[in-house]
């Protein structure tokens, strides 16, 4: 359903750059994603995971290569058109909206202006928020980071896109809510066999749900395979894992 061909994303010197060199965030990356999969993208910080997901949503545009979704070239398509094609995105650090009610954001996400409060409730309880308290709250700085993050995830559930991308959904979420969240992801995955979920995560419980794991490092696909192939190498043999080069180098210095 999703195909990236030779995609690169280079930040030119001088633009968002701390020195005068060009930075290749994504380098000649090709990737095909089949429908119905739950895929976890992992890898070291700064490896290009978030950028890759933003390129798929259109929040950033590639400097080379093409991206297609269900046969349509979306390489230079605006964000909102991609959204209408069926791509959704849960931000790692969600935006706040002064004066907007949680219920309204959920309704915008679902596309149903007159969605009942009971229906809005359903999405909030799926992320462990007691809706009676939250529907009339503003999506502003009065919400804690964890509350805001769960509301962000609820908007994706309400939108129910064919391809749902979540950038570190577990970040900032407490343990109890995390249990609820993993259960929700599992339900979402099993309930809709033709929908695809891409989750950027370092969390082993989330990786254990994956059909496939993709390791992104230095802007490229370092490894890709089934959970059973990739997961043990990530968790139990860090020092041999090429994705953990930084850890190895740091240890070499320390000892």
């Amino acid at each position: 359903m999703l195909e990236l061909k030779n995609v690169s994303y280079t930040v030119k010197a001088g633009k968002d750059s701390y020195d005068d060199r060009d930075h290749d965030i994504i380098r000649d990356l090709s990737l095909t994603v089949e429908p119905g999969k739950l895929i976890v993208i992992t890898g070291p910080n700064g490896g290009g995971k978030s950028t890759l997901s933003k390129l798929i949503m259109g929040i950033e545009e590639p400097t080379a290569g093409t991206i297609s979704f269900e046969g349509t070239d979306i390489t230079h398509m605006p964000i909102d058109e991609r959204a209408r094609l069926g791509i959704g995105y849960g931000f790692q650090q969600p935006a706040r909206f002064t004066g907007m009610k949680v219920s309204k954001l959920i309704r915008i996400a679902s596309g149903e202006k007159h969605m009942s409060s009971a229906a809005c409730n359903k999405y909030l309880s799926a992320v462990g928020l007691c809706s009676a308290n939250y529907l009339d709250r503003d999506v502003d700085k009065s919400l804690s980071g964890g509350e805001l993050k769960r509301i962000e995830i609820a908007t994706i559930l309400a939108r129910n896109p064919k391809l749902a991308i979540f950038d570190e959904p577990e970040a900032g979420i407490d343990l109890w809510s995390f249990d609820k969240l993993t259960a929700t992801f599992e339900e979402l995955h099993k309930g809709q066999p033709d929908h695809t979920i891409l989750i950027i995560s370092h969390q082993e419980r989330i990786m254990q749900m994956a059909d496939e794991i993709i390791v992104i490092k230095d802007g490229q696909v370092a490894r890709r395979g089934s959970r059973d192939e990739i997961y043990p190498t990530l968790m139990f043999s860090k020092n041999q894992d090429p994705a953990c080069g930084f850890t190895r180098a740091a240890e070499a210095v320390t000892y």
Binding site: D80, A95, R96, F97, T98, K104, G111, R159
Partner: protein
């Protein structure tokens, strides 16, 4: 509460000249005072400087002033859930309407008051309405006051609204004021002042949108003189086009009291916003805080709404609508 005023039904007990309400006036009344058809409670509609309609209710008496243009509104002590609507419409160019309205709220009364002014200026001469409102709240009374200002019309004449509002909150009384300038007002100079006795509570929310070449100035000045008084000023504004806004809210604490001033503005296009919040403590027990922020619409908020399928323009409008909601 049993009485209702039907627009434009002949006014009951009306004094002064009576004016028919045309379609434009009725539309504006909907916008500024949420009045359509029957309006419960006491009603006084003023059009182009004259009384158009008046209804008293069991506990609310409206009388015309004898010295100045304007009305006295008396709300009986102890009455609950009373409604008062006193909107003003100006539909002619060249009108400069000045009106003095005084509200006397009896002890323990609980009342909802809707004011507001709409100007439709189809001509090339200016149209101006200056409302001077004074509120006297007896101890323990509670007032919700909503005032909306709106301008429209295809003429080049300016639509000017210069409201002055003065509030006196007696011991233990409370007031929530919502003052909104929706759009279309060429120039406004708003002055709002007040004093608060012990345990009085005031929350004032001011929302303003300017566009084109409009100018808006808002000065607010409140003094808390009694222990336990609280004032909260919330100002939200959007400045578009070449418009200019100046805010100067000041809260003075002269007792063991608490004050909070919060000004948030969204600036767009070539607009200019000056925000000068001030706090003034005359007592070691006064706790006063102010915060002010001016900025463009957050790019991340637009991006988020676009990921939910809104176009960039729709996202921007949605954010502004909620900001001023």
């Amino acid at each position: 509460m049993a009485d209702t005023a039907t627009i434009p039904a002949p006014a009951q007990g009306a004094t002064g000249s009576e004016v028919d309400l045309d379609a434009i006036s009725r539309e504006m009344l909907e916008v500024i005072a949420d009045m359509h058809g029957d309006t419960p409670g006491a009603v006084n509609i003023r059009k182009n400087g004259c009384l158009a309609c008046r209804t008293n209710s069991e506990h609310v008496t409206i009388t015309s002033k004898t010295d100045n243009p304007g009305i006295d509104i008396h709300v009986d002590a102890g009455c609950k859930n009373e409604h008062v609507h006193i909107p003003v419409v100006v539909t002619e160019e060249g009108v400069h309407d000045v009106v003095y309205n005084d509200f006397f709220i009896g002890a323990g009364a609980d009342v909802y008051i809707v004011a507001g002014c709409g100007i439709h200026n189809g001509g090339d001469k200016d149209a101006e309405h200056d409302g001077i409102h004074r509120f006297f709240l007896e101890p323990g009374s509670h007032v919700v006051y909503v005032e909306k200002h709106y301008g429209e019309g295809e003429g080049t004449g300016a639509r000017i609204l210069n409201p002055t509002t003065e509030v006196h909150l007696g011991e233990g009384s409370s007031m929530e004021m919502e003052m909104v300038q929706i759009k279309g007002v060429s120039s406004t100079i708003r002055k709002t002042t007040g004093t608060l006795e012990a345990d009085a509570k005031l929350v004032i929310t001011e929302k303003l949108m300017t566009h084109g070449e409009q100018h808006a100035t808002s000065d607010l000045d409140f003094e808390m003189v009694g222990d336990g008084a609280t004032v909260r000023v919330i100002s939200r504004s959007v400045a578009r086009g070449n418009s200019v806004q100046v805010f100067h809210p000041n809260v003075t604490g002269a007792a063991a009291c608490r004050g909070h001033v919060q000004c948030d503005s969204i600036i767009m296009d070539n607009a200019r916003v000056t925000s000068i919040p001030a706090i003034d403590a005359k007592s070691t027990e006064a706790q006063l805080v102010h915060e002010a922020a001016i900025g463009k619409i957050a790019g991340e908020a637009i991006t988020k709404l676009m990921t939910l399928g809104l176009t960039e323009e729709e996202a921007e409008e949605q954010i502004l609508e909620d900001f001023l909601s």
